[in-house]
Symmetry: C3
Subunit: 200 residues, 3 copies
Amino acid sequence: MKTRNFFAHPQALVESERIGAGTRIWAFAHVLRGARIGRDCNIGDHAFIEGGAVVGHRVTVKNGVMIWDGVSIADGVFLGPNVVFTNDRTPRSPRLPQVAERYRSGKWISRTRVERGASIGAGAVVVSGVTIGRFAMIGAGAVVTKDVPPHALVVGVPAVPRGWVSEAGQKLEFDAAGLARCPSSGQRYRLRGGKPVKLQ
Amino acid sequence: MKTRNFFAHPQALVESERIGAGTRIWAFAHVLRGARIGRDCNIGDHAFIEGGAVVGHRVTVKNGVMIWDGVSIADGVFLGPNVVFTNDRTPRSPRLPQVAERYRSGKWISRTRVERGASIGAGAVVVSGVTIGRFAMIGAGAVVTKDVPPHALVVGVPAVPRGWVSEAGQKLEFDAAGLARCPSSGQRYRLRGGKPVKLQ
Amino acid sequence: MKTRNFFAHPQALVESERIGAGTRIWAFAHVLRGARIGRDCNIGDHAFIEGGAVVGHRVTVKNGVMIWDGVSIADGVFLGPNVVFTNDRTPRSPRLPQVAERYRSGKWISRTRVERGASIGAGAVVVSGVTIGRFAMIGAGAVVTKDVPPHALVVGVPAVPRGWVSEAGQKLEFDAAGLARCPSSGQRYRLRGGKPVKLQ
């Protein structure tokens, strides 16, 4: 007999067996067969995780988030409420005769990766085929259409750069010498090649 | 005794009888009495289709889409995840005394039409009172505030034109002679009066 | 024995006892323990109202709206489908070691207030820490990042002013003398200090 060591709300539908210990899945959420979810995640109400999607450890998936086949989410990521991913850059209804061939092939899927510790704000939409770098922060309501570098803050439609954030998610203000200090953790960063690097 | 020839997930709520053969309705979706849905549609989890809404054949309604009274969707349309329609251009809470009269009258509804084969990207919002032409493509996260011509690609908030797409959803690059070829199907198009027309 | 004098759909989850008479809560909606909701509200399918959230009387909460701890909604407000609130301006996954301290403290919550009679259009996102004034109107798909004055119409990402609306939600066109008349109710308004004031 198999013991589940994650929690699922009685109104959640959980069809995958590959869910880590300590993870909690809330009401009206639906995790499909073939989805993989790590340890100590929190999956909010009305979330949907499709077969083929991969979610790491300690990820926060707020309510209504949709994660499709082709999307992978690394450890410690925050996905705000109603964040929507996609996996098709030129979608048509697959039962339209003009595109039936394309959807039969399986080649239509375009992949998306969200790296360790990144945050995606409420209601943001991620157009498929991009990588969101580690500890990046996507503003609420942004539409991400290209790669986002590590630690970058991006906002708007389409999302454009607006500065840099620390691992703790706080704005980094670099001085003339290219040094900044996270106002929350005290951790120091240096700009190297125009990008923040954490100092030991 | 009546035989349903569509599929409804045990957790779906289906209160309409006017649903075509081969249509599938998934978990936590809700189809209200008075909604009409054609054949061979796919209605994703958490979708909501109100009485008075009309959905054609072979339509893909991804998860979380909301289709209200006053909205009609033609055959072969793709509605991406979390696409939201509206049916009131100046909404107030109907139980606010200042507007009780307006909502009693029923005249507040403004209609929206999505024509054959069009696609609406994830998280897009369609402000009511518009027509989205056949085989148009609405970018992810766009906010549509006016009519979209057939085959047009529109993106942004508010949505603005960005080019043309084929029936198969591929970008059409017109040459100096006003001719283009769909890179997926090989189908040829000509600009006539500034708009793409499919050649036989 | 306690009598509930509100309506809850059999598929709704209602864990709060503080819900006013005449309020209706529809399928797959979830109202958590500690949420407060007034009289004669309408809470649509798939809505989510967290403990600590406060909703006044005669409020319309359309489908899929998410109202978190720290958000308060005054009487007569309209929240369109898929409107999303937030309550954290620099979100990270709380189980990320770099931010565990911040989330333990409870000090991370930033509050949002929507005043009497305001409307928020479909799919709009409200970044936390703002006040939306009475009878303001937020356009569909807008992203609100700062305070919105009473009677203001704002649209876009980020939301910017576009004019003024009456209590009945109709555009106010002020003449050279600074006077306007609501085309729906006939109610007259005067600009005072650049802001609309209702005349008796």
